[in-house]
Each structure stands twice: as C-alpha cells, then as structure tokens.
C-alpha cells in the first residue's frame, strides 16, 4: 500500500474584491499517493493552476489567498505552516515544473548555478559535491554533454532541453511530490512525448507522487493513474483514469471528452480535379542580412522553405502539418503574400501572384483570405467588431453601407449576437473572437481560405465548435481551404488531404486517411506515434506506427541549384 502524501480537503481560494467571482476554487478535495500520477484536467479558468500553486504556498498573496480548507502534506497543514517551514519544503519535499521553461528559468544565470542553488539552500554539501551531483542530474534527464550544459544559459538550449533542465532541478533533492503545471503544452508533440516519458521514468526511479496539471486528455490518457476534472474552481469528477476517460459521469466531463477530436480520419470527400492554387518549388530563406543599423553580425541563415510544391484542389481542405520551425506558417504567409518568396511560383487562375506588385496584388485579395492563430492578437483592440469585419470590403472599394450590411450578415453566419457589431474585441471570449476573425476573412467572399492554426489557442470544447463552423462555412461558401496545424487529431477531423512538413520541406503528401493508415516517411511515423492518448482515443487498429520503415521521398525534390 502506497503511502498517502497529500490530502487536500475543502480547499477554498478567495479572489480579490471586484473579481468576476468570489472564489477561484472552492470545496476542492484531492489526494495524492506515493508513486502515483494525479492529473488535474480542466479548461482555462478552471482553477487547476491555482490549486497547484496553493500546494507550494505560491499564491499571489494577499490578493489571492486560501480562505478555507487544508492541504495536509505528511501530517502538516501547508496552509498554516511558517514561512520558514514552507521554504524548507519547497524544492526539497515538493517541487514544481512549469509550462514555459524559457521564462521559468532565470535568463541571466547559468543552468549550473540555478541547479546549484537548490543544494545550497537545502543541504550542506561541498562545492565540488554539488557540482558533481548537478552533472549527474543533467545526465539523468538525458541531456547531452552535461558539463557543457552546466555553463550554458537558458537561451542557448532548445525548448525540450530547457524543460529537461527544469526537471533535473525539480528532482535534485528527490522530492516526494512533483507538481507539473502543463509542462509540455509549449513543446512540440515529439518533444512532448519524450518529456512525458522522462517524467514517467523519473517517477519510477524516485517513487515520486506527481500532480500533473493539463488541459489535454490525450496526455491524461498516457500518464495518469487517477484524474480530477475541474470546472469553474470545482472538482466535478474524479476517479481512476479508466473510469473517467472511458465512462465519464459528469456532463461536463462527457462534453469535454467528446470534444477531443478522434485520431481516426473522417471520411474524405471526393476531390475535384480543378486546381485553384498551385505552389511550385517555392523557397524562402531568412536571415543572412545584417541586423539593425548594420550593428549585428550577419545573422544565421535559415531555410524556411525548400522547394515546396503543393496543389490545392477546388473544394478540398488541405492540411499542412508539422512541428514548430517546419515552415508551415511561412508557407501560409508566402501564399497570402505577407512575405515574399525567394524562388518558385504561386499561381492562382493562371496568374503568378508571388510576383505581383503590392498594388496589383490588391485585387487578388478578394480571392484568398486568412484566419489567424491567436484570437487575441489578430483583432485590433481599438476598432469595433463591425468595422473590423467591414474593413476589407471598404478597402476593396465597396460602399460603406453595403460593407456594413454584409458585416451584419456575417456576424450572424458565424453565430454571434447582432449586438456584437458595436462592441470592441476585448469584450469577447477567445472562441467568439475567432468567429469574428473568420467573419472578417469571409467578408471579401474569398475562394481560398488559409487557416493558420485557427484552434490551437482555444480550449478543447471551443475548438470543436470552431472546427464545425469552418466546416459549415466551407460547405456553404464553396471554399477551398489550407489548414495549418500541429495537431494531428485536428488534422484528422478537418483535412481531406494533408502535407507533412519538416525543416522547410514537404516530406509527405497524400489523402489524410492514407497517411494515417500508412505513413511513408519516418518523420510522419514519429509524429503519429507521438500523439498523446492514441491508445485511448486513437487511430483504428489499422495503424501501427513504427512498423513501416520505408522512407518516402518527398514529392518534387528537384533541387534548383
């Protein structure tokens, strides 16, 4: 019988006066045993992160404070212990890793000294010992060349390496509890898989109790022993992972789980033969120029796109899938002429639009439009929603009244209230904003819509609504769509065909169903196998990632000199 490490009961966290609700979390009961992983799942604003912070005594007091309840760790109520005692516990008995390792690490201190601090402040060890131990730790978390990494600064490491360093730091004193607050959300899917495995491995070694905060049910399925689902500060359901995922009781849990896109590709439409957009041998290189005022050294050259060739057929949704840095967003921006291409041709209706001058391009804006990723950054906060939507037609010469009339129609098409018209973007939630963004892109009645990660910043329940909306609109307006995403689950649900990109190259193109069933390229195989929760809500048994070793040549590799 594993020992019970943590027992949270009737926890209430009070918000400052004037907030939209009195309690950030209330009546929360949780427990964590040795060697066990408890996943706390919820959407943004559910209070899951605050719960984690309360355990560390890291609430932004006095504004936000524990007003009721207790957090018992090894018989001690953390909410009541002295500051000194709390400090003793932090880092040695309970430690924590965070979502964004770049900001969670001090940018001006070396990794080594940041690990060293833990030893210095908790145990007495000689300098050499501490040094040795730190190097061992870095080796334990599979960081290459630990001695070198000791002297490295956070910005010199990759995201995954930083998170490994964070984990090394958190596990330095073999804590009984590790709190992981969305530790993989900012990472690419393949890296995520490695980090999750690392946490799991370390947990086995040290018999640590892990409290894992996440919004991703896939991750939950992969690592959790038990699950607690939070909504609006309340634990609505908890139980073993099997119970909750496969047999949810609470309607909220049910809704959440059903919103998680399945990895099984949807049925593909019959694809027209008519090409609406041709991308041929497009290349794009960043950097190489001098920095500001010629002060910097010539920056590193990055080939963002290398001879990319793609076709978009009438009425289809073409997914472009890849991890960060794969060039998928660059491709989108080149197609819509936010960036200039270095070489190659992008052709619509026989016109090579990548060569058009800005002014000449203006008329082509009617044909092709874009939906952006970040619903918060993509709407000008100083302009009313109605005007945002009407802007495009007005710019293209449509009379103001007509444009506004069209904007009103669009607002109802995307499912927003008519009153939205006069409001400013900040009065809307993320999902609503994304609807506004979609309305804006539709205002010009485009034939091609590029959607650049349109749902990646949204909670899962909102995600599915927006995906449905896009689907409806595509049908209704007879759109052809390029859908950029890093999320294979999403890709599976919306794309008729998909292109997989890596390091600026298209490594594989094909029907979604075919690629999922029989990935050709090693990278595609890796991607598929890294999708979290594929054993739970995964691909139909036909897929057995990892088996097919055949390396498909990327299409059109005719390298121009």
């Amino acid at each position: 019988m594993k020992q019970k490490l943590l027992n949270i009961s009737d926890l209430h966290i009070e918000l400052p006066e004037g907030s939209d609700r009195q309690y950030a979390i209330q009546k929360v009961d949780l427990e964590l045993k040795q060697g066990e992983t408890l996943c706390v799942v919820g959407e943004s604003g559910s209070g899951k992160s605050l719960t984690a912070r309360a355990i560390m005594g890291l609430l932004p007091e006095p504004h936000v404070r524990v007003s009721n309840g207790e957090i018992i760790f090894n018989g001690e109520d953390i909410t009541k212990v002295s500051y000194e005692r709390l400090r003793d516990l932090r880092g040695s008995e309970i430690s924590m890793i965070f979502q964004e390792p770049m900001t969670a690490l001090n940018p001006v201190m070396s990794i080594g000294s940041q690990i060293d601090e833990i030893f210095r402040y908790h145990v007495s060890m000689s300098k050499a010992e501490r040094q040795k131990r730190a190097i061992e730790l870095l080796a334990d978390v599979n960081l290459p060349n630990p001695t070198q990494i000791m002297n490295a600064y956070p910005h010199e490491l990759s995201g995954g390496q930083r998170q490994r360093a964070m984990i090394a730091m958190a596990l330095a004193l073999k804590p009984q509890i590790l709190i992981a607050d969305e530790p993989t959300t900012a990472l690419d899917v393949t890296t995520q898989a490695q980090i999750l495995k690392l946490i799991k491995d370390m947990q086995t070694v040290y018999d640590t109790g892990v409290l894992f905060i996440t919004h991703d049910f896939g991750v939950v399925a992969d690592i959790a022993d038990r699950v607690a689902v939070m909504q609006h500060g309340i634990v609505v359901e908890s139980g073993t992972v099997k119970q909750v995922l496969n047999n949810p009781k609470h309607p909220y849990t049910k809704a959440l789980i059903s919103a998680v896109p399945s990895l099984t590709p949807r049925k593909a439409k019959t694809i027209s033969k008519e090409k609406v957009l041709e991308v041929k041998d497009v290349s794009k290189t960043f950097g190489g120029g001098r920095g500001l005022f010629g002060f910097g050294k010539p920056s590193r050259q990055v080939d963002a796109l290398k001879n990319v060739t793609l076709d978009l057929y009438n009425g289809e949704t073409l997914g472009v899938v890849g991890e960060s840095g794969s060039g998928k967003s660059t491709l989108a921006r080149c197609i819509i002429r936010l960036m200039d291409t270095d070489a190659g041709a992008i052709t619509i209706e026989g016109t090579q639009i990548n060569l058009l001058k800005r002014k000449a391009m203006r008329t082509w804006r009617n044909k092709i439009q874009m939906v952006f990723q970040d619903p918060f950054a993509s709407l000008n906060p100083r302009i009313r929603v109605g005007d945002i939507i009407a802007q495009g037609p007005i710019t293209q010469g449509v009379a103001r009244e007509d444009a506004l009339k069209r904007a009103r129609e669009l607002i109802s098409i995307v499912g927003l209230d008519d009153r939205s018209f006069e409001r400013y973007p900040h009065e809307f939630s993320g999902g609503q904003r994304q609807r506004i963004g979609i309305a804006r892109s539709l205002a010009l009645k485009p034939e091609i819509l590029i959607a650049d990660e349109p749902v990646s910043a949204l909670d899962v329940s909102i995600q599915s609504q927006i995906l449905d909306l896009l689907d409806d609109i595509r049908e209704q307006m007879k759109l052809s769509m390029i859908f950029i995403t890093h999320d294979l689950r999403v890709a599976a649900q919306v794309c008729d065909r998909m292109a997989v990109m890596q390091y600026g190259e298209v490594v594989e193109v094909g029907k979604t169903k075919d690629i999922f069933a029989n990935p050709q390229h090693n990278y595609t195989i890796d991607l598929l196998s890294a999708v979290p929760g594929k054993d739970w809500k995964g691909i139909s048994p036909t897929v057995n990632a990892g088996k097919s070793k055949a390396k498909a040549k990327p299409k059109s590799r005719s390298k121009t000199s």
Partner: protein
C-alpha cells in the same frame, strides 16, 4: 574567436560607425553657428572696447572667417582628420589644450555624479520595490520626484547656503583652494572636498530617474515566472531579490545610464555655473556667446566621442550582465 578579440572587433566597429555621426554633428553645428549673427571678432572687439573695421577685418582674415563657409568647413574637417581641432579665437590657444584642461573636471563631475545617482538610485529603487506600497515606498517615491522637480540652481544655492555658509563643511565653489595651492595627496583631498556639493546637486536630479526606473524594473522582474520558480525551489526572498531579480532589473538601468551621459555633459551647465566648476559645459556656454566656433565645435566633437565611447562601454557591461546579448 576568443571573447576578447570579439570585444575588440566590436569596439573597433562601433567606433568606426560613430565617425559619420560625429561628422554630422560637427557639420550641423558648424552651419547652425554660422547662421547666428555676429562672429568671434565682433565679440572680441566689443570686449576690447572699440576697434576699427580695418582691425576687425584683419582679425577675420587671421581667423579665416573671411573665407566662404564651405571652405571654412573643409579646412576644419581636414584638420580634424589629423586630430587638429584648430585654434580658439577667444582664448588665443589651441582648442585641444583648452578642452583637455577642462575635460578632467567634467569627467570627474560626471563619473562621481553617475556613480552617486546610479548607486543611490538603485538602492532607493530597490528599497521602494521591496517595501512596495508601504510608507517607505511612498517617501522614496516622493523624495525622488521632488529632487527631480526642483530647479537645479535652487538646490545648488541652498546647498551652498546650508553646507558652506551655515555649517562650513564645504567650500562654496571652485575646484581647488586657491589660497593654498595644495600638492600631492592634499590636492586630491582638496579637490574631493570641492567636488561634494556639485556632485550631490547634479546627482539629485538624475537620482529620481534611476530610482523610478529601478523600482519599476524590480517590480516588473518580480512578476516574472523565474521568480516563482526560485520560490518553488525554496530560496530565501533575500536570495531571490539580490541574486535573481536584481541582476535582471539592473539591465534597463544600465542602458539608461548610457543614454544619460550625453544629457549630463550639457545638463551640468547650470551646476558648473553655480559652483564655478571649470567644466566643459560652462566652456561651451561661454564659447557659444563668444562665437568661438572652433572651440565650440571642438567641445561638441569631444562630447560626441565621449557619448559614443560611454555607450560602447555600457553595451559591453550590458553584454557581461546579460548572456543573451552577444557583442559582435
């Protein structure tokens, strides 16, 4: 490439890049000064009492002021290339000698002011940020604002009244005791004593800037994620403040200190005037009204070089403080 050779190349490059800026400053000021009515000869003749137009014409010819402007400029620039700053019309001696003579007092005042202002500014800002929203914070903030908003000459004069006349701690003005003419260490001590009041007066003005900046910077850094990490690691607040936050918070303050140097050279005119401190600011002020073109251009040139060099030093310090910035 080793780090030191990297820094060397960086320094060289930056200095080269400073040249067009300095040239532009010289040319702008050359033409501005020539837009002004009257020239050095008018002033000299006016001061002398009376002089005939023939005599004045002779002087103009001697100074080269009778040449067309582009020729004058060309001659000046040609001389500058070989580091000859020309002759001061008014002082009847080489500009470089005059400037060097007045440079050290300026440098002394500048360095002591920056050290005091930045040092205390950092300290007060730190204190205010650590005691956020307490009476200490309020007192520091108000103090900083008041020192900033009080006219400099008023502060200076009050300093003299209180510390020289009433308390007799410091001399009213000047840089050295002219009755004694001390030598060696006594002279150093003497100059230090004379330096106190002007330094305090001038740094009070800049103190506010650094205090507020440091406070804001500390607060911003306190809100960063790495602070939470540090707390989660069980570090003491002391260590978090002084090791983690402080170093990050210093970065914008360091940048600011670099930017301020240019302002400091000019901004010290009033303090130099009040305390009869023989600095470049006062020299510039006087040479402007004497239309001592060569001298004024020389001062602009030197101070521009100074600003560029100090900014360079600041950038190097910055790169030492912040590993993300690489000199290249």
């Amino acid at each position: 490439m080793t780090r030191s050779s990297k820094i060397f190349r960086f320094v060289l490059k930056r200095l080269l890049q400073g040249i067009p800026i300095i040239l532009a400053i010289v040319i702008i000021n050359f033409f501005l000064l020539n837009m002004a009515d009257g020239d050095a000869v008018d002033v000299l003749a006016g001061e002398a009492g009376s002089a005939t137009p023939e005599y004045m014409a002779e002087l103009r010819a001697k100074f080269g002021l009778d040449q067309p402007l582009p020729v004058q400029l060309f001659v000046y620039l040609k001389n500058v290339v070989v580091l000859d700053l020309g002759y001061s019309f008014r002082h009847d001696m080489p500009v470089s000698e005059l400037i060097v003579d007045r440079f050290w007092p300026t440098a002394l005042l500048m360095v002591s002011t920056i050290l005091l202002a930045v040092g205390f500014g950092i300290l007060l800002g730190l204190l205010a940020a650590m005691r956020l929203n307490t009476w200490k914070d309020a007192v520091i903030t108000v103090f900083a604002l008041i020192t900033y908003a009080t006219p400099l000459f008023w502060v200076g004069l009050m300093m003299i009244v209180v510390f020289s006349l009433n308390l007799g701690w410091f001399p009213t003005s000047g840089m050295e005791n002219v009755a004694a003419f001390y030598e060696g260490w006594d002279r150093v001590k003497d100059i230090a004593v004379h330096l106190v009041l002007p330094t305090i007066t001038l740094s009070l003005f800049y103190l506010a800037l650094y205090t507020r900046m440091m406070r804001a910077s500390m607060l911003e850094q306190y809100g960063q994620d790495y602070v939470i990490t540090a707390r989660a690691k069980g570090l003491t607040e002391r260590r978090i403040t002084f090791v983690h936050v402080l170093r990050n918070a210093l970065l914008p303050v360091v940048t600011m200190a670099g930017v301020q140097v240019g302002a400091l050279i000019g901004g010290s005119v009033i303090v130099e005037s009040v305390f009869a401190w023989p600095g470049l600011g006062m020299l510039a002020f006087e040479s402007l009204f004497a239309r001592d073109l060569n001298l004024l251009l020389g001062i602009f040139l030197l101070s521009s070089v100074l600003v560029i060099v100090v900014n360079l030093i600041v950038d190097i310090i910055y790169s030492l403080l912040d590993p993300r910035i690489e000199v290249s």
